[in-house]
């Protein structure tokens, strides 16, 4: 046996997009201590009551009762939630999982501000108790039809703590949880003291975990590693040393597709990538003039040539969206397709004329452009349905004339080829972009800024490292490229992000904005929609109608300019493993830092004989 001791055939090697972990020995996921979470920790060892898969899920539905035996049970006015738990699940140290663990999790977090879910519980939970070892009853401070969301994993959720470990600890805030006790099918085997890799081993008693319902996980070992920047990832996968790349540059992906015969991708052909249930958009700081004016926002939208942006950022490998919801498979069906007719008839008033800005053929046009490139010729679908699925339906048509009229309506003037604001200053826009961490966004931002500049606006893209913390949170930006919308993915309920768009949560100018609604937009009509959603249950079909009302409202008001899906260039090497999720078998999101990616373990098959 080699000193890098693991048999490759039995090991799945996955990119950890967090990079090198600064505090590698920290496994206390309930306190942010610089330890990683996408190291396999939340994917392989954590568990909580429910999961919603961003794609179809295993077991016939996106919804999965994981530790819970059933869906949450609310009382009539949504002030009490009762949860039934599964029996026969065990922690990796042999202690049985019970309702006490759930109660302990909630209470400990409430007692320790500074723990990750502490505040969320404190604000909502009046009391929690275990009425028997398999039943937990939550009493809420005020009605909430979505309280279960905190225990529902999308990317993550409130993970259940092992009571028998933590109750012995003096200060849970300073406890590193070294040798983490696992509730998942894997347990820690080894990790790099420099934080570059973590390896997990299948539990002997994997049958006593919630995942066992779907079968036996195949990989004996799973390693999460930091393979370095995109080029090194690409090289590593070409050499079959990295089974799953979390994300890559579009060019890296094309190279892999070209040079490797063993690469699986979400779409087998162009655009390859998996659309994340998040929606990259041009986000305006609507608290700052002139971006508080919908006419200005619309004018800027009409100056964008989305085809160029698509080519520049994703080189065409993106799914466009004109609507304020990410174009995932589920929302295409639930929202995008049903609203096409409304979009085609949608009109805006420029003050001088009424125009219909929607161009329903953009997706088609992009497919046509791409088909001209010899590299991709055969990979571009021809079926209109498939084209819309891969490239989106339509988008706004560039209309500089209308944009000029809108700006004039807002009091702007053009002089010497340059636009002046109503108070006579040059119209200057600084667009904050993320730099090389998400280079496709940076590319999109620089191009959009250039398109605006070509129209006579002093526009420029400026990169900011840690865009979220330094620009979006403090509201220290004019315009940014980021996402402000994220959905469950597999479920049409929009409350996941929409609830926090209520005007009650918009921070005052200059204050820190909670991490939703970066555009700081308040609108009474929107508040009404949100309040209606709060009053109905999560699976009430009325929710979808309210969702469409929201989409129409933001199309009119344009608080952000939705661009396209956040396409993640995940690639999977089939040299050692097969059975990855793809559009043909979309049982889960292939992006390996989502907690749902645990489903892959049971679907993978070794590709090499033992």
């Amino acid at each position: 046996e080699d000193y890098t001791s693991l048999p490759r055939k039995e090991t799945l090697i996955v990119e950890n997009p967090e990079g090198t972990i600064k505090n590698p020995g920290w496994f206390n996921i309930w306190v942010n201590g610089g330890g990683g979470v996408s190291t396999g920790l939340q994917q392989l060892t954590m568990d909580t009551l429910w999961y919603i898969d961003p794609e179809q899920g295993l077991g016939g539905a996106a919804w999965d009762n994981s530790l819970a035996a059933d869906k949450p049970q609310y009382n009539a006015d949504f002030t009490e939630m009762t949860v039934k738990l599964r029996k026969g699940l065990y922690w990796s140290d042999g202690v049985e999982f019970t309702a006490d663990d759930v109660v302990y999790t909630v209470k400990t977090q409430m007692d320790h501000p500074g723990m990750v879910w502490s505040a969320a519980f404190s604000v909502q939970v009046a009391s929690v108790e275990a009425t028997d070892p398999q039943t937990v009853v939550f009493k809420l401070k005020k009605p909430n039809s979505r309280f279960h969301a905190i225990f529902t994993v999308r990317w993550n959720g409130a993970w259940i703590m092992p009571k028998h470990v933590f109750e012995k600890v003096e200060d849970p805030l300073r406890y590193d949880f070294a040798n983490p006790v696992s509730l998942g099918a894997y347990k820690l085997k080894a990790y790099d003291p420099q934080g570059k890799w973590y390896t997990w081993e299948k539990r002997d008693d994997w049958q006593r975990t919630s995942l066992a319902r779907f079968g036996e996980p195949a990989p004996k070992y799973v390693t999460y590693t930091d393979p370095g920047p995109p080029d090194k990832r690409t090289i590593a996968q070409l050499e079959h040393n990295l089974d799953i790349i979390h994300d890559n540059t579009p060019e890296g992906m094309f190279t892999l597709k070209e040079k490797s015969k063993t690469i699986d991708t979400w779409f087998p052909g162009f655009p390859f990538a998996h659309p994340d249930p998040t929606l990259p958009a041009v986000i305006f700081n609507t608290q700052e003039a002139p971006f508080d004016n919908a006419d200005v926002r619309w004018a800027l939208a009409l100056l964008i040539d989305i085809k160029a942006v698509d080519m520049a950022s994703y080189r065409g490998a993106a799914t466009l969206s004109a609507l304020g919801v990410p174009p995932t498979a589920a929302t295409m069906k639930d929202y995008q397709a049903p609203m096409q007719d409304w979009l085609k008839d949608f009109e805006i008033d420029t003050g001088k004329s009424k125009i219909k800005p929607y161009d329903p053929t953009v997706g088609q046009q992009i497919a046509d452009i791409l088909r001209k490139q010899p590299k991709f010729k055969d990979q571009i679908p021809t079926d209109p349905e498939a084209i819309s699925g891969a490239f989106g339906y339509g988008w706004w048509k560039p209309n500089p004339k209308a944009a000029g009229e809108l700006l004039e309506k807002a009091g702007f003037k053009k002089s010497g080829g340059k636009w002046l604001t109503p108070d006579g200053q040059p119209f200057k826009i600084r667009m904050t972009v993320e730099g090389d961490t998400r280079s496709v966004f940076t590319r999109a931002g620089t191009l959009i800024a250039q398109q605006w500049a070509a129209f006579g606006i002093d526009a420029k893209a400026v990169p900011a490292a840690k865009l979220w913390q330094t620009a979006l949170q403090p509201g220290d930006f004019q315009v940014a490229i980021a996402w402000s919308v994220e959905t469950w993915g597999g479920d049409p309920d929009l409350s996941f992000f929409l609830d926090s768009w209520h005007s009650q949560f918009v921070a005052k100018k200059g204050d820190v904005q909670p991490p939703r609604n970066w555009q700081r937009w308040s609108n009474p009509e929107l508040d009404k929609i949100i309040e209606s959603i709060r009053g109905i249950s999560a699976d009430d079909p009325k929710g979808m109608e309210l969702g469409k009302d929201y989409l129409k409202l933001v199309a009119k008001e344009m608080p952000t300019i939705p661009l396209m899906s956040y396409n993640v260039f995940t690639s999977m090497d089939t040299t050692y493993w097969t059975g990855y999720p793809t559009i043909k078998d979309p049982y889960t999101d292939p992006v390996p830092n989502w907690a749902n990616s645990r489903l892959m373990m049971v679907k993978l098959k070794p590709a090499q004989p033992k």
Binding site: Y3, N23, G33, P113, G114, A190, D192, K196, D226, T470
Partner: protein, 287 residues
């Protein structure tokens, strides 16, 4: 991301501010930082709270010191040896060619050279590891295999440093030597028939070492300059990478801690020069 309630988030933010000791004005915080620093306490890292900054730094420091010290010393010895020979045997074609190779490397920006090495030996002709300090899933008990692996991973980073660095020692040494050979004591020794090798070693090189040694100490102190780029390019697990990560993470206590460390490092190097100079140059006395 699981908790979307903005009220909850505000509550959380306040409790974290308390934990991080970020109450009060920025000036109070700054003062607080220096007070702690004076007592050797760098405080907790903000992006890895509550882990102390010193713990995080100490984890990376040995890698940086190891890689940089060894490659600086190799660079020093190599550059000076070739420089001394090339300065003394001015007509030797082999020495001329070797010098030329190193000198040609000298002006190339370090990043570019490292990048080219990485592409050549990691991609075009993939024979050397290009990422990290040792292999993934390595068994970290001290073993011959581990040491070999660590050495293998240090080849490219070290090579890049040596290729770039040797040239300047070489030029400096060659110039020093060609000046020293006209110094009276060397001419006198030649006239005295002292053998050539002896002159080169005990007269020329020995005297040229005086300024070069000072330079060595300075360059050991300046390890913090080179380390950042090397470590980024080769994903080496040292403090340079840590610094960049800290900057990206907005972890100002870690950034300040690393800056403080680098200044202390330089100060220490200067102190070492002062202590050791009399050994190299008897004309200097510590009083």
């Amino acid at each position: 991301m699981g908790q979307s309630d903005p009220n909850a988030i505000e509550l959380m933010r306040q409790s974290l501010r308390e934990l991080y000791g970020m109450q009060g004005s920025i000036w109070q915080q700054y003062l607080h930082f220096w007070l702690r620093l004076a007592t050797g306490d760098l405080g907790p890292s903000l992006s890895a709270f509550p882990t102390p900054v010193s713990t995080i730094i100490l984890r990376s420091l040995p890698w940086t010191i190891g890689l940089m010290t060894v490659s600086t010393l190799i660079t020093f010895v190599l550059g000076n040896a070739i420089g001394a020979l090339a300065g003394y045997y001015r007509k030797d074609m082999v020495l001329k060619a070797v010098s030329l190779v190193f000198i040609a490397m000298l002006p190339i920006p370090y990043y570019i050279l490292a990048f080219v090495l990485l592409i050549v030996f990691g991609f075009i002709w993939p024979v050397l590891p290009i990422n990290g300090g040792y292999e993934m899933n390595a068994n970290l008990d001290l073993s011959f295999a581990l040491v070999t692996d660590i050495l293998k991973h240090s080849i490219l980073p070290a090579l890049s440093l040596i290729l770039v660095g040797a040239g300047s020692w070489l030029i400096g040494m060659r110039a020093l030597v060609s000046n020293i050979i006209t110094d009276d004591y060397v001419v006198f020794a030649e006239l005295g028939g002292v053998p050539k090798g002896k002159i080169l070693r005990s007269y020329i090189a020995r005297n040229a070492m005086v300024p070069q040694f000072t330079g060595l100490a300075m360059s050991l102190g300046a390890i913090f300059n080179g380390t950042v780029i090397t470590e980024i390019v080769f994903g080496y697990p040292g403090i340079g990478n840590l610094l960049i990560e800290a900057v990206h993470a907005g972890d100002y206590s870690l950034v300040l801690g690393l800056s403080a460390l680098s200044i202390v490092g330089v100060a220490a190097a200067v102190f070492i020069i002062d202590v050791l100079s009399p050994l190299i140059d008897p004309r200097i006395k510590v009083e």
